[in-house]
């Protein structure tokens, strides 16, 4: 008998490991709208299967919790049952030996608090208050509700122009979204259950690369209604509303404060991510509907401005989509020094084609979001000698997309994680010489699951630099609107979900100026909602539709197959110019990727509840 043995996993263990991965992917692909109690019960059962069985609260308590929850689901529960669940779960939390028990009970308590209303609904009505409303997960999660399975099938058949037309039914910025959308659609793609999500954005990119938006004619407009709508802000939200209103036969007049249209697409997102000529393709198509544009005109109180009151007088309706373009300060010593600039200012100058010259300069960017990465990578391209990113938390905690952070690092940026900005040091002329940062250790996790940084017991750190770029968020220029009587809440315009305002007929608002800084697709969706509701407000019910026929499903075996990611130009080459980083798919790649789509519009709940909204 040997004293020790080398353990190697057996087949059963290996299989269980694989099943864990399968389950993870299944959870990722959980469709929205499921009964949260039913889900929680299944989680609880998984947790219970993990118990070693030694301690009573975990071995028996979790089972009894499951029974009580089963009572709720089977319409056998009363309010007493809820109390019982709470008391039992608390007692398990307080007495289980190890995390298997107390964390399982903790999850039950979280649910009891988080969806208590559904618990009560079950007890009162014997039914669940949740329902699957949009059966296709990608469409459900796209704020604009774009017909994703439809255009993927079209790309699969190389019908690129049709794909662009179909996308435009719900989103007049196919190119922008093909290049820079954060693709919430991919998050719960059912393909995750097999291998990983379909590269939806990549396939859209294939469509707009093969059929440029400005070469695909916009649909025919409805007969003119004679109504005029003022759109304040020529960003993605304002232009989306303008586009649909024109299609409906109204006349949209856009007032843009800056010199050019595009909003954050031009003044926030650098060329290497979204080349300007590609932006022009979308804008050209939108303007081809007849949208009237006035650039360099601000809506406000100043002498040269147009006031909201005047717009309300002269137009049948007003849509406010001014975005979030003001900067936020850190509030540390030395922030007023020469060489400190805001991200908004820097990106605006780049957008207006008057970029700052950073040749030979040492730059530090403060922040961890996508804008901070845009500044970092732009600074590298503007000739900086070195670029650092100072961030209070860890790299994993950054709100920027991981690929943006990795891209910046690959291009040579130095990441100073767990370094909170403390003060900015300047020479006698007021020029920045360094930024002092306060090292942090990562600490307790807050209610939203984010770890909070805590001051470390070490010396301050001095990072020598010439330029500091502050990229810690944007605000909204809401003052004029507040003065004009519009409701403003925590700096954002307080519009309803239908984009209108109670008691202020004819004025609508949406996008970043209502939600705070968000994504382009949410601004587009808000523009779409506003167009529909303005149309109704004006007494019409125009329908937006698309006559593109969707290819019939294919019966190919859905065997596991890797996801095709878009390739990028090499870091060492791309960092010297502002040209596009990302490359399109090949036709071979696009055909394979399109075929990975499971066509949830046809298979599953889609063909009961209608896989697509053909009109809106």
């Amino acid at each position: 008998m040997s004293r020790l043995k080398i353990s190697t996993p057996n087949k059963a263990q290996l299989t269980v490991e694989r099943l864990y991965k399968d389950l993870e992917r299944h959870i990722i692909a959980s469709p929205p709208g499921l009964c949260p109690i039913d889900l929680q019960l299944s989680f609880l059962k998984t947790c219970h299967a993990q118990t070693c069985g030694k301690c009573i609260p975990c071995r028996v308590g979790l089972a009894q919790l499951a029974n009580l929850m089963e009572d709720v689901l089977e319409n056998r529960a009363t309010l007493k049952t809820l109390e019982m669940i709470e008391v039992t779960a608390n007692n398990i939390t307080d007495s289980a030996d190890c995390a298997i028990g107390y964390e399982a009970a903790h999850m039950v308590l979280a649910g009891l608090d988080g969806f208590r209303e559904d618990y009560l609904y079950h007890i009162e009505h014997g039914k669940c208050s949740y329902a699957i409303t949009q059966p296709v997960p990608c469409v459900a999660l796209c704020p604009a509700g774009v017909d994703i399975p439809g255009y993927i099938a079209l790309v699969g058949e190389e019908r690129y122009a049709d794909a662009v037309r179909l996308i435009r039914k719900d989103n007049p910025f196919p190119t922008a979204c093909a290049l820079i959308c954060e693709h919430p659609c991919e998050a719960r793609c059912r393909r995750n259950m097999i291998d990983s999500s379909v590269n939806i954005r990549g396939l859209k990119r294939m469509a707009v690369d093969q059929a440029r938006a400005n070469t695909v004619p916009v649909p025919e407009k409805a007969p003119a209604t004679g109504k005029k709508i003022a759109i304040v802000g020529g960003g993605p939200g304002g232009l989306s509303a303008a586009y649909y209103l024109e299609l409906m036969g109204h006349h949209a007049v856009v007032f843009e404060a800056k010199n050019k249209l595009g909003g954050m697409l031009r003044y926030g997102i650098p060329n290497y991510r979204f080349p300007r000529e590609r932006l022009e393709e979308d804008i050209e198509a939108i303007l081809s509907t007849g949208v009237e544009v006035h650039t360099g005109v601000k809506v406000g109180n100043n002498e040269d401005d147009i006031s909201l009151e005047k717009l309300r007088e002269d137009y049948d309706a007003v849509y406010i989509a001014i975005g979030a373009h003001t900067d936020k300060k850190i509030g540390i010593e030395g922030e007023e020094s020469k060489g400190v600039m805001s991200a908004v200012e820097m990106l605006r100058n780049i957008g207006d084609e008057t970029p700052p010259d950073f040749t030979g300069k040492r730059v530090v960017v403060v922040g961890g979001g996508n804008v901070a990465m845009d500044c970092t990578r732009s600074a590298i391209r503007l000739g900086a000698k070195s670029v650092g990113i100072a961030y209070r938390r860890r790299q994993d905690d950054m709100t920027a997309l991981p690929e943006e952070v990795e891209g910046a690092i690959a291009e040579g940026a130095e990441l100073y994680s767990l370094k909170a900005p403390h003060k900015i040091e300047a020479d006698e002329n007021g020029n920045v010489t360094a930024i002092w940062v306060e090292p942090q250790i990562i600490g307790p996790i807050d209610a939203w699951g984010r770890a909070r940084p805590v001051k470390a017991d070490v010396e301050l750190l001095r990072i020598p630099c010439d330029i500091v770029i502050v990229a810690i968020g944007q605000g909204i220029e809401s003052r004029h609107f507040e003065d004009s009587g519009m409701p403003v809440k925590r700096g954002t315009l307080d519009a309803e979900s239908e984009s209108g305002f109670r008691d202020i007929p004819g004025v609508f608002a949406g996008g970043d100026c209502v939600t705070g800084p968000a994504t382009v697709i949410r601004a587009i969706a808000a523009g779409k909602v506003a167009a529909a509701n303005i149309d109704e407000y004006l007494g019409y019910h125009h329908v937006i539709s698309c006559d593109v026929e969707i290819p019939q499903v294919k019966y190919d075996n859905k065997t596991p197959c890797g996801r095709i990611n878009l390739s990028e130009r090499e870091a060492n080459i791309r960092k010297h110019d502002f040209d596009a980083i990302e490359c399109s798919m090949t036709k071979q790649e696009a055909a394979q990727e399109a075929n990975r789509c499971l066509r949830c519009d046809h298979f599953g709940y889609g063909n009961l509840k209608g896989g697509r909204a053909a009109i809106w």
């Binding site: 709208g33 499921l34 009964c35 039913d38 889900l39 689901l73 009505h125 039914k127 669940c128 208050s129 949740y130 329902a131 699957i132 019939q552 499903v553 294919k554 019966y555 190919d556 075996n557 859905k558 065997t559 046809h602 063909n607 009961l608």
Partner: protein, 572 residues
């Protein structure tokens, strides 16, 4: 054309054809359960699965189109195994009490299980249950629901009322009244189209046959039965009787055999309805022309319920005339009771209707003209009548034909076509034209209002007055018509609406033939009866003339208003 092979046979069909249809074109009938053409093509039951050569997963034949060159097997070992298991799984959650089920012998699930030779279910039996108001005109039995979603789809796509929906998620997913309402609090019109499209006994009419046996056993009660026009077009379908034997005369004979004291005809009161409603139309014509809003027929209780719940503002445009069923009830308990010298409480009025909504109509407030109880005491559907006859072991084909009793048994050709879409309109126009022009026109003059389309518009010039008519069946069509009127897109003078597609011949109380819409086969039978009647104008019905002469006076008289019209407080 797309070429493919199914079970070794070469098939050539147009592009877009489903696999199921392609197979049927060469005589291969793929079994299916949830499928309902154009209404429910969701591939939920997975009974119609087929195997495609080279593919791992089976494909549902009902909702997937053919592909060029595909090679399909409808009975491969894999298909056999899957189809059987899926039926066994359905049965594991189905209350298989076939012996006591109204759909026994006419149940798709039963047939498939029998055909597959399933005599045992290998899974644990878990039959769900859910409470239901047993007094409602129709009953849902959760234990028999197989979640095929047909009821959801029929109510969404044909009736546009969205009464049913999927409820809960995950393993507890079921079908229930949408938005978590109780059926009685919903806007359900009780048209019964969900019932006639249910593949099992999960939806059925409330069974009122026992009430009939109760009154038949009561020596103090005089039973008076009325039979609606559409019943005679369909009753034989479930009687296993040759078509040509299914005459009105044998239907009468069979009912007499049951033991009813008087067998009368709702056609009689349909003629009466035409008199009242026709005169009402003429009386309201100035107002109609002035407001641009039509008068709507009111003989379909599901439509009336729909109007009151969906367009309450327009409910006063409904004719105030009661439906033939209710006019009959009122006359039977007044005029007829007087005639035979009994008090109204002695009479039990039983109606046989192609309809479930009629059960609710009979119980509406105001439908009690004598104050002794409802004018119509019991409402049976055509299906219940068939069950009654079967329970009484009556074989109509062995009976001699008989005639309806008098004085409420005479019905004209105009009345018998009430049972189909356009019939009320045509009958009303025949009489209205005669009143306006002083002489009868050709009875076929107004037959342009006939047809199978859900909505038909015809304008007639009667005595120089243009009468713009619209005839609608199906509540979705009714909603579109109402929206067009409200949006000023159309102007009509007189509109007939029947809730069920094709009218009462396709009613929710009619015999069920799974997957087949029978209305278009039944309607010609009524037109044939009309053609063969000697009298084809309601105003020439001798019994109706006598009723006015002896009892009511004239159409729209005070007495008529009291007995035959819905009073103002019950109009909206």
């Amino acid at each position: 054309m797309v070429n493919l092979t199914i079970d070794g046979r070469c098939v050539s069909v147009p592009e877009g054809t489903t696999i199921m249809k392609a197979a049927a074109s060469v005589g291969i009938m793929i079994p299916h359960l949830c499928f309902l053409e154009e209404i429910n093509e969701i591939g939920a039951c997975k009974v119609c699965v087929v195997e495609m050569q080279g593919k791992i997963k089976l494909i549902t034949a009902c909702n997937n189109p053919v592909e060029e060159g595909m090679v399909l097997y409808t009975n491969s070992p894999k298909v056999r195994s899957v189809r059987r298991t899926n039926v066994e799984l359905i049965l594991s959650q189905h209350d298989c009490s076939c012996a006591t089920c109204v759909r026994s012998g006419n149940c798709n699930l039963q047939k498939i299980a029998n055909d597959l030779g399933i005599i045992d279910i290998p899974f644990k039996k878990e039959v769900p249950s859910a409470p239901w108001n047993q007094d409602f005109p129709f009953i849902k039995d959760a234990g028999k629901c197989i979640k095929c979603m047909r009821c959801v789809q029929v109510c969404d796509k044909i009736q546009d009322l969205h009464i049913w929906d999927v409820q809960n998620t995950g393993s507890r997913t079921t079908v229930d009244v949408a938005m978590n309402r109780c059926i009685e609090d919903s806007d359900c019109s009780t048209c019964g189209q969900c019932v006639t499209h249910c593949p099992t006994g999960a939806l059925r009419e409330r069974n009122d046959v026992p009430e009939v046996f109760k009154v038949l056993a009561d020596p103090d009660k005089i039973t008076v039965v009325q039979v609606a026009p559409a019943v005679r077009s369909a009753w034989a379908e479930d009687m296993n009787m040759p078509e040509e034997m299914a005459t009105e005369g044998r239907m009468i004979a069979a009912l007499k055999q049951v033991g009813f004291d008087y067998v009368f005809d709702t056609n009689f009161s349909a003629d009466l309805t035409i008199m009242e409603e026709g005169y009402e139309l003429l009386k309201r014509m100035d107002n109609i022309k002035e407001t641009g809003l039509p008068m709507f027929t009111s003989c379909c209780p599901a439509w009336v319920k729909f109007m009151k719940s969906q367009y309450p503002k327009y409910a006063d445009r409904l004719s105030s005339a009661k439906s033939p069923q209710q006019m009959f009830g009122a006359i039977s308990k007044t005029y007829f009771a007087e005639k035979i010298g009994v008090t109204p409480d002695k009479i039990c009025c039983i109606s046989i209707m192609p309809c479930i909504a009629k059960k609710g109509e009979a119980a509406l407030p105001g439908m009690d003209v004598t104050g002794t109880g409802p004018d119509v005491d019991i409402v049976l559907t055509t299906r219940e009548m068939v069950r009654l006859l079967k329970a009484e072991h009556i074989l109509p084909e062995l009976l001699l034909e008989e005639k309806f009793d008098s004085p409420l048994g005479e019905g004209t050709g105009a009345a018998v076509i009430f049972g189909t879409t356009g019939g009320v309109m045509e009958a009303a126009l025949r009489t209205a034209a005669a009143v306006l022009e002083g002489a009868n026109s050709n009875p076929e003059k107004f037959n342009d209002v006939r047809g199978n389309e859900g909505r038909r518009e015809v304008t007639y010039h009667v005595n120089g007055i243009p009468i713009r008519t619209c005839t609608v069946s199906g509540l979705k069509n009714a909603r579109m018509m109402m929206d067009d009127i409200i949006n000023g897109k159309v102007i009509y003078d007189f509109v007939e609406v029947m809730a069920c597609p094709g009218g009462c011949v396709g009613g929710g109380g009619q015999p069920i033939k799974d997957g087949v819409e029978m209305a278009t086969e039944r309607a010609p039978k009524l037109y044939e009866l009309d053609k063969r009647r000697n009298v084809r104008f309601s105003h020439e019905n001798p019994e109706i003339k006598k009723l006015y002469a002896d009892f009511l006076g004239e159409p729209l008289s005070e007495k008529s208003h009291e007995l035959l019209h819905v009073h103002e407080e019950h109009l909206v």
